[in-house]
Amino acid sequence: MQQRVNRQRWRAKQALALAASLSVGALCVGTAASASTAAKAPARARTHAKVPKSKIKIALIPGGPNVYFAPWAAAAKAESKALGVTVSYVVPPTPTFDPSVEISTVDSLVAKGYNAFAIFPDGEASIIPLYTRLKARGIPVIDLAGCTSDPTPALFCFATNVEASAKYETQVLTKAMGGKGKIAFLTGLLTDANTALREAGVKQGVAASHGKVKLVQVVSNIDSPSAAPPAVESLLASKGSQLTGMLSTDYYPSVAAASVLTKNTQFRHILFIGQDNDPTVMKALEKGYIYGTMWQNSYGQGVVAAQWLYKMLANGCTVKAKAPFTKVGKTSHFINSGYFFVGRKDAAKYAKGMENIPATTKQVLGETSKFLSCP
C-alpha cells in the first residue's frame, strides 16, 4: 500500500516537473519569438520583393456578413479582371464580428497562398497580433473601412472619415432646419470605436451652431433589425413633437426611421438624414418623407485597396513614410475614402446603384505617387 502511495507521489512529482519545464520552455520560446518578430518586423516603408503576377493573391476581408461590404465583392471581381490577378472577397463567418473568426479566416487564406490583405478590423486592438504575424512574413496588410489603433502594423487605413462625415451631416441638417431647433441622434454600438467618433462629429456640428441647435437625445446601441424600430418609435413618441431634426450614422436606425416616417405622417415635420442606401431609405427619400442620406464609397474602398496592394506586390512599391496621411481617432495614417450627402433631387439617380463615389476614387488613385514609392 505504502509502495503504491510512493509511486503515485513520484508520478505526481514527475508530472509537475514536466509541466513546469514545459511552461518555462513555452515562455522562453514565446519571448524569443516576440523578440524575433519585433526584430524582423519590417518598418512601414519596407521594400517588398516583386512577386510574379501568377502568384499574386489579394484578399478583401470584411468584418463579417453585412450589407455595407457588399460592393467590395463587385470591386474584387472587377479588379481581378482588370489587373489579371486573383482578388477575392472573403467574408469571415461571424455575424457578430468576432475577431477570433476573422483571424482564423485570414490564417486559412495565408495557408492557401494569399499574400496581400485589406481588412476591416474586428476590434481595433485585438486584430493587431494577426497583423504583426502577416507583417513578419512580408505580407502587406491595410485597414479598410475601419482602423486599428496606433501603433499598428497596418500600412495605412483607408476608410470613411466618420467624424467629419457626422459633423457634415449635422451641419446639413442644421442648415435645412433654418439654423436652429432640437435634434436627436441615432447610432450604433458604443463598443465600436467609430460610434465615439461619430458622436464627437455630431457634437462638433451642434457646437458650430453656437447654441441655436440643441442635441436633446442620443439613442445608441440600436444598430440591429430588432433593436432599431422600437427605439426609434419610443423616441418619436416621447420627443416627436419637440424635435425639428433627427439624424442617424448607422444602417438599421436609418431603415427604421425611414420606415416609421413613411407610415406616420404626424412626425413628417421632423427633418431626418439617414445613412447608406437601404431601399426603404431611398424610397422614403424619393417620396420626400426624409430629408436625405449620407453616402459612403464602399466600392471605391475595394478598388483602391486592390490596386495599391497589387502595386506593392507586382511593382515592389512601398508606402511613403512621409505620405500626406491625416490623423483621425487613434490612427495617424488615415486616408479618407469619401462621403457625400444625397438629397431628394438626386434620390432617383442613386436609388438603384451601389454605394460608390467614383470622383473620390479617381482622385485618390490620382494621388498614388504621394502615398506609394515605386521603383
Binding site: 455575424p95 440591429s224 433589425p225 427605439a231 413618441a237 438599421y252 407610415k263 431601399p279
Partner: protein, 343 residues
C-alpha cells in the same frame, strides 16, 4: 381571478401597471396613444419569439436556433415574393413550412442522437444563419408586400395590428398545452421524463413536436418582423437569443420543463417592451435595457424557486420515485389516455 393572482408573473404585471401609471403622470408622452402602440407592437413580436423558445423549454430542452430559423425564413419570404414572384400568401405559407422543416430537423437530430439540444441547435442555428447570408450576400430584399407592412406598422389608435397574430398564437399554444393530449404530453415529458415514459408517452415524439412547433413560431415572428422593418434582411434574428429566453423565463416557464404558461409570455413581453420604451422616454442610457433584462430574468428565476418552496414542493415530489403520481404524473397519465385531456 385567484388563479391569475397566484401566477409567477402577477406581481410583475402589477408593478408594471403601477409604474406605467406613475410614468404617465410624470411624462404625458408615456401614456400617449402612439407610445402605447409602440410598446404593444414590440411586445407582440417578443411574445411570439418567447413562445418559440417556451415550446422547447416545456420539454426541458432549449433552442439556440430560434434566431437562425428566423434569419432563413426571413430571406425565404423575401426571395419567394420578390424573386420567384409567388403571391404573398403562398410565400408566407412556404416560409412557415420552412420553419416547420427546420424545427423538425432539430427535433429529429436531438431525438435520434440523444445529443443535447444546446449542441444541436447551436450547430443548426449557425448553419441556418450561414445559409441565409450565403443566399443573399448580406443584401436585404426590399420589395415587401403591402399586407405585411400594413400589419407590421398598422394600428387602430393604440392597438397594433401585430397583436392579433400574437394573441392568436398565445391562445393557440395555451390551449394546446391545456387541452390537447400532445400538449399535455410535452409538459409531462418535460416535468418528469421517466414517469412520462413509464406512463406510455413517447419522449422522442414530444421532443420532435416541441422543436417543430418552435420552428413554426420562429417563422411567424420572422414574418411579423419583415412587416415592422419593411425589409427582409438576413440579420433578422441575430439578437433574439436573450429575448427568446428572457420572455418565457420572466413569464414563469420552468427551465427544467413541465411548466409553460403561454399567458406569462405575453405579460413578460409587455413588461420587457415597456422597460425598453420607458428607458428611451426617460432618456436613460440604452445599455441600461440589457441590465434591466438581466435583473428581471434573475428575479424571475428566484421568484420561481421561492414559489416552488411555498407551494410545498409539488414538483419535487414528481422528480423522484414516489408513491403518488403528483401533479405532473397525473398530467402524464391524462396525456397517455386518449380523449381524457380533451375538453
Amino acid at each position: 381571478m385567484n388563479r391569475v393572482l397566484r401566477t409567477q408573473w402577477a406581481p410583475l404585471l402589477a408593478a408594471t401597471i403601477v409604474a406605467g401609471i406613475v410614468l404617465s403622470l410624470a411624462t404625458k408622452q408615456f401614456g400617449s396613444s402612439f407610445n402605447v402602440y409602440t410598446i404593444l407592437q414590440t411586445a407582440a413580436v417578443y411574445t411570439v419569439i418567447g413562445l418559440s423558445q417556451m415550446m422547447v423549454l416545456a420539454v426541458a430542452d432549449m433552442s439556440l436556433a430560434v434566431g437562425g430559423i428566423a434569419s432563413l425564413v426571413t430571406i425565404a419570404t423575401g426571395n419567394l415574393y420578390q424573386v420567384q414572384h409567388w403571391p404573398i400568401g403562398a410565400a408566407i405559407a412556404g416560409s412557415l413550412a420552412l420553419g416547420l422543416a427546420c424545427g423538425l430537423v432539430n427535433g429529429a437530430i436531438i431525438a435520434t442522437t440523444k445529443l443535447s439540444g444546446f449542441i444541436v441547435t447551436l450547430a443548426t442555428g449557425t448553419a441556418f444563419t450561414g445559409i441565409a447570408y450565403g443566399i443573399t450576400s448580406s443584401i436585404p430584399y426590399s420589395n415587401i408586400a403591402s399586407v405585411l407592412t400594413n400589419l407590421g406598422q398598422g394600428r387602430a389608435a393604440f392597438f397594433s395590428y401585430l397583436l392579433l397574430p400574437a394573441i392568436a398564437m398565445t391562445l393557440a399554444v395555451g390551449a394546446g398545452f391545456r387541452w390537447l393530449p400532445i400538449g399535455r404530453s410535452l409538459l409531462a415529458v418535460g416535468g418528469n421524463k421517466d414517469a412520462a415514459v413509464l406512463s406510455g408517452l413517447s419522449e422522442k415524439r414530444a421532443i420532435v413536436t416541441a422543436h417543430a412547433v418552435s420552428g413554426v413560431l420562429a417563422a411567424v415572428a420572422a414574418v411579423l418582423y419583415i412587416g415592422v422593418l419593411q425589409s427582409a434582411t438576413p440579420a433578422t434574428g441575430s439578437d433574439w437569443l436573450i429575448i427568446s429566453f428572457a420572455v418565457p423565463i420572466i413569464g414563469g416557464t420552468a427551465l427544467v420543463g413541465g411548466e409553460a404558461p403561454a399567458s406569462g409570455c405575453f405579460v413578460a413581453a409587455i413588461v420587457l417592451s415597456a422597460i425598453n420604451d420607458a428607458l428611451i422616454v426617460l432618456n436613460v442610457n440604452t445599455e441600461a435595457v440589457q441590465m434591466a433584462e438581466g435583473l428581471l430574468i434573475f428575479a424571475a428565476v428566484i421568484a420561481g424557486k421561492l414559489g416552488q418552496s411555498v407551494r410545498g414542493g409539488t414538483r419535487r415530489s414528481v422528480g423522484r420515485p414516489s408513491t403518488g403520481p403528483g401533479r405532473l404524473g397525473q398530467i402524464a397519465q391524462d396525456a397517455a389516455t386518449p380523449g381524457l385531456g380533451m375538453p
